[in-house]
Amino acid sequence: MRLTCTVNGERREADCAWEGESLLYVLRERMGLWGAKNACEQGECGSCSVYLDGTLVCSCLVLASQADGAEVRTVEGLAEDGELHPVQEAFVAAGAVQCGFCTPGLVVATHDLLERSPRPSDAEIREALAGNLCRCTGYEKIIDAVKDAATRLGSGD
């Protein structure tokens, strides 16, 4: 099956050898976009989070053909003109990254949260990131990073 979709603003095509392939598999193995990570493959960990037509999803739980004709935005599509996105800068500044495996998913989920709620409360942050597991940081620095990102984005208005 040939899949055609827009990924990070570019029209992309991929041939799926098996119709049961996930969007995550296609992004990583057929398009060479390794930002979204493959960990649990059951929607538990959020490390494969991407936008599908503007909606935050686990790309491991999207059948590749469901993305046909859709607009996909991955973590690689957040930075513009070689500049990190303010959410990414905030994760670096706060030390919210240890091994880094969960980071792309958390960055995308944080980006989505701040689009919907520019000044989230602690409870809102925890609920928004409940589907993203981190086994290193203990989450405190991640929550600091989300708040810092909210400030950075707010001051840019």
Partner: protein
Amino acid sequence: MKVLRPGSWREALEAKAAHPDAGLIQGGTDVMVELNFGRHHATTLIDLGQVEELRDWTRVDGRVRLGAGVPYTRIVQELGGLLPGLALAARTVGSPQIRNRGSVGGNLGAASPAGDAHPPLLAAGAVVEAQSAARGVRLIDVADFYLAPKRHALEPDELIAAVLVPIASGPEQFSKIGTRNAMVIAACSFAVCVDPVARRVGTGIGSAGPTPLRAPEAEAFLAAALEDQDAWAGGRPLDAATLARFGELVGAAARPIDDVRATAAYRRHALAVMARRTAAWALAGEG
């Protein structure tokens, strides 16, 4: 495996009629896990994701006709006022990513006893709108829909178009037990619906029996107590003995087993506690 992608409801019904053994995929939050782990064995998969008719809800004669593919996120955002019990349950589903894709139609189609939507649907007395190309629409009371673990009352050529959920005329509550607040399959769950207009109490038990269950004796007991105490209007606490008895009757209605998530004894106990608490919240006007 072959994937069919019908572009309309009519095409979807025709695809299911032509391939009665086909598996179905909507948001993918259940089916993709099976595919990723090589546990999905259907040779044909019908993807309902393109069927726009499934993705909206409308008000019809005192009920919400909820399209089978409306994601939980929209139920939380849009239906908290009309269907508070279902919206509360929807909030506890998975994570934002899962709620953005998962739907009540998927929950019904999977028919897991642990599905979060089942208890509020049972409590509200919802009706499943099934349809086939050959015979048209068939309405199935949700209480008759669940047959056994992961088995439901649909015929092989039928699809779920929508679920018809009575608009709340009084308080509804939902409670769920698990090891975390998010991303958890219920160890057990409970929903209660108090309908002061019809003078009816509805209940739904999740994850504590081979299917989602009602607790008819508990419903009749609480309705009688509300009648006796002239308390249908709510706004004042029910007495502790009534609430405790309601809890006991709910626990007794469960048919739990011991499994990885909880023991049968714990489930019965937890259901009694959740039933007592949710009834208290509902009748204290905290719905």
